[in-house]
């Protein structure tokens, strides 16, 4: 065990991730099923929001992970940029669809929650709109990977895109606050879990957040393994053509 960078070696990564994957997946299923079951069946309704409060067990973890997946892609892209570790670039590629689905879930549950609370399916609230823009960034990022033939060039181009996109995501966030002060402000409607959610909702929520995180980890490991195999397949086919 010499250094963390050892895991950037494809073979080493395959061995380690293969050993980890069953545990991570098992734990993810346990936390996710347990947390959602707990939240859905065993918690009371909120006195103002009624049963819609149960949506937070999906909405809040998905929203937290939507942002964190992008941050993980940013870090992985930077590692590729600085140290040229191929596995890092492939992990960023593998994470993007997961992040896009999480963002879509956060958006959808947010809209469904908003319907009874605000009386409209879609409210151009700054926070919800930021997630819409984040979703567009995910789509652009995925499309960029698909469009470029050479995998190293694709990794470089998506890295630049991810860097620029991150800066613009932050700028957009503040531009949107400026644009519309938002409906998320009322305390009892707030989605800020830490401040406003009682313990009885808090524990299942934390379990669900852990579940979403572990699911993300499992999916990224699994999908990165696929991407590594796809790269090897590509390399071998290229060798067969030149031989």
């Amino acid at each position: 065990m010499s250094s963390l960078w050892e895991y950037a070696n494809p073979r080493k990564f395959m061995a380690t991730s293969g050993a980890l994957l069953p545990w991570v997946s098992g734990l993810a299923v346990l936390c996710l099923v347990g947390g959602l079951f707990w939240g859905f069946f065993l918690t009371p309704d909120d006195f103002r929001q009624g049963s819609t409060v149960k949506i937070i067990y999906l909405h809040v973890p998905a929203a937290i992970m939507a942002i964190n997946v992008w941050l993980m892609m940013l870090v992985a892209s930077l590692i590729w940029l600085i140290r040229r570790h191929h596995v890092s670039a492939l992990a960023a590629k593998a994470a993007a669809p997961v992040g896009a689905v999480f963002t879509a879930i956060a958006l959808f549950t947010g809209a469904v929650w908003g319907q009874p609370m605000w009386g409209t399916w879609w409210e151009w609230d700054p926070r919800l709109t930021s997630f819409l823009i984040l979703f567009l960034f995910y789509l652009g990022y995925i499309a960029m990977w698909e469009a470029v033939e050479n995998p190293d060039a694709a990794a470089d181009l998506t890295t630049v895109l991810c860097l620029v996109g991150s800066v613009f995501a932050v700028i957009s966030r503040y531009a949107l606050l400026f644009w519309n002060q938002g409906l998320h402000q009322g305390a009892s409607l707030s989605m800020d879990a830490e401040q406003n959610v009682a313990d009885v909702f808090w524990y299942p929520l934390v379990t669900c957040i852990a579940g979403f995180f572990l699911l993300f980890l499992a999916l990224v490991l699994y999908r990165t393994r696929t991407e590594i195999r796809a790269r090897r397949l590509r390399a071998l086919l290229a060798q067969e053509r030149t031989a």
């Binding site: 959602l36 859905f40 069946f41 309704d45 009624g50 049963s51 819609t52 149960k54 949506i55 999906l58 909405h59 998905a62 669809p97 997961v98 689905v101 879509a104 879930i105 959808f108 549950t109 469904v112 929650w113 319907q115 009874p116 699911l215 999916l219 699994y222 999908r223 393994r225 696929t226 195999r229 796809a230 090897r232 397949l233 071998l236 086919l237 067969e240």
Partner: protein, 51 residues
């Protein structure tokens, strides 16, 4: 089944769609993984075979 009151449709839709989306993501990942793995095994076998 807990009593969801008058928001039953909203809550059930949110859970239903989210779970379907996660399941679809997992299913697509698994399908793609299997496909790539099978093709890679074919090529590796071809490499090991003499000639």
């Amino acid at each position: 089944m807990p009593d969801l009151g008058r928001y039953a449709t909203e809550v059930l839709t949110a859970y239903g769609v989210s779970i379907v989306a996660l399941a679809a993501l997992v299913w697509l990942s698994v399908r793609q993984a299997r496909r790539v793995r099978r093709r890679l095994e074919d090529v590796e076998a071809r490499r090991r075979a003499p000639g």
